[in-house]
């Protein structure tokens, strides 16, 4: 049964196998640098986009039908509810305007740099399965809308995550609770700066590197410190929920609760900082950036 033709065929198969496996390994290694992987990803995503649309279609039909079937009374109630909320927010805004004015005056007195207001655009979640990793999701804005890697994503209560890969019409966002995520923060009350890490649990973040001399209390609010240039300064991240006793006295440990409602993300905001161009850094670079500052 053996023939020379046969053996060359199997050799061919082995060669093809090795070739494809090497391509895969190269792709995996290239994935760490966005410059190489980004064009391939966006090219392939033009092929996958129709698939995403097909999965979205029944969901869109469902929301359309349920909204057209909901009766008028419900809509009226909702309307009243929203109006009440709006008036409340407007009153808050009035007070804020006065505070903002005072803030500007104080900053001028101190000759501090003016803080630019953040520009945000709304983004919506694309509800498709993304494997067994819960700590990432997809939004409906991508390369065509100018989304860049490293861009901050907020929900209405606080920081939710950052963009880590961009397709043509969608982007993948990694949550701050992902085990591989680190974020430079500061304590609002004391101004102490440290890092906050994801734990793999949607309801907790860990703070393993608090300077031992600093004062930490349960309920302390954590905001982004703006170090590293990935996240803009002053966005709410979470509140300290638990202090952990450690044996060695090098660092204090604490657990924080994220303020964003990560279990029920629906509407999201993409933050466009003044220098979005410069913020195209990956999570892993954060550590290096701080050392240089």
């Amino acid at each position: 049964m053996w023939s020379p033709n046969d053996s060359s065929l199997t050799q061919n198969k082995v060669l093809r196998f090795l070739l494809l496996e090497i391509i895969c390994i190269v792709l995996m290694l290239a994935d760490h640098s966005s410059k190489i992987a980004m064009p391939i990803r966006s090219a392939v995503s033009t092929l996958t986009y129709p698939l995403v649309k097909i999965i979205e279609l029944p969901q869109n039909i469902y929301t359309f039908i349920s909204s057209s079937l909901s009766n008028q009374q419900q809509l009226l109630n909702q309307n009243i509810d929203l109006k009440q909320k709006l008036s409340q927010v407007q009153i808050d805004l009035l007070q804020l305007e006065v505070i903002n004015q005072q803030n500007i005056e104080l900053r001028q007195l101190l000759q501090a740099k003016q803080k630019l207001p953040l520009k945000t655009t709304a983004a919506f979640l694309i509800n498709i399965n993304t494997g067994n990793n819960d700590h990432h999701f997809i939004i409906n804005q991508g390369y065509n809308q100018g989304v860049t890697i490293g861009q901050t994503v907020l929900d209405l209560n606080g920081v939710a995550g950052q963009v880590y890969s961009v397709d043509l019409e969608s982007a993948h966002v990694i949550l701050i609770t992902n085990e591989n995520h680190a974020l430079p923060i500061e304590f609002l009350r004391t101004g102490v700066r440290t890092y906050i890490y994801g734990t793999g649990d949607l309801n907790s973040l860990s703070l393993p590197e608090i300077p031992p001399s600093s004062d930490v209390q349960i309920g302390d609010i954590l905001i982004t410190s703006g170090l590293g240039g990935v996240f803009p300064r002053g966005l709410k991240v979470g509140t300290v929920s638990e202090l952990i006793e450690t044996q060695d006295h090098s660092f204090k440990n604490a657990i924080a609760q994220p303020s964003a409602n990560l279990n029920l993300l629906k509407q999201l905001l993409l933050v466009w900082s003044a220098d979005t161009k410069n913020s195209g850094k990956e999570t892993k670079n954060i550590n290096q950036n701080e050392e240089s500052e």
Binding site: K13, R16, F17, L20, E21, I23, C24, I25, V26, L27, M28, A30, D31, A37, I40, R41, V44, S45, L47, T48, L51, V52, I54, I55, N127, I128, N129, T130, G131, N132, N133, H136, I138, Y164, S165, D167, H172, E179, N180, G200
Partner: protein, 156 residues
């Protein structure tokens, strides 16, 4: 060797890719079978000439982009699986139904193991996580999946 309509092959693989994207909630998510692997296993046993390494590579890369996982992760494990199938292809065609199911279970387990190792190497976390439920459900789904595709194939 019979020649199957390549339309049917690609359509069934694309449908299996779509099945993978259905956003189940909670425990349904963890037991979701690896549809794409089932479809590719089926065709690489039935029509190895038409569904070979390149097809497996191509569709797994699509899955990688859709899942936003490490680029080439699913590709690597799937290409390895199809290569193994091509090596034992004759035996797989001859073997009894139950043995085939067991062998496919072993292949899927191997595939899950490769992906777990890639996850472990590429992330900072020290934990080795393997989703055995997904493998188990895939094995349970396999007979029905095969029966279904056999029927469709006979009709066309």
């Amino acid at each position: 060797m019979k020649h199957y309509s390549s339309k049917l092959i690609h359509l069934s693989i694309i449908v299996s890719l779509l099945l993978m994207l259905i956003p189940w909630q909670g425990w349904m998510k963890t037991i979701q079978p690896y549809w794409l692997a089932l479809a590719i296993i089926y065709w690489s046993i039935e029509a190895p000439k038409q569904c070979g390494l390149f097809t497996a590579f191509f569709y797994s890369i699509l899955l990688d982009v859709l899942y936003g996982s490490l680029f080439g992760k699913h590709g690597f494990s799937m290409v390895a699986m199809v290569f193994l199938i091509s090596k034992i292809h004759k035996r797989l065609k001859m073997t009894s139904f139950w043995q085939l199911t067991l062998m496919i279970g072993a292949l899927l387990l191997n595939d899950a193991f490769i992906r777990m190792v890639i996850d472990w190497l590429s992330s900072n976390s020290q934990s080795l996580v393997i989703n055995l439920w997904s493998v188990l459900v895939s094995i349970l789904v396999w007979p029905w999946f095969k029966y279904f595709l056999d029927r469709i194939r006979q009709k066309t």
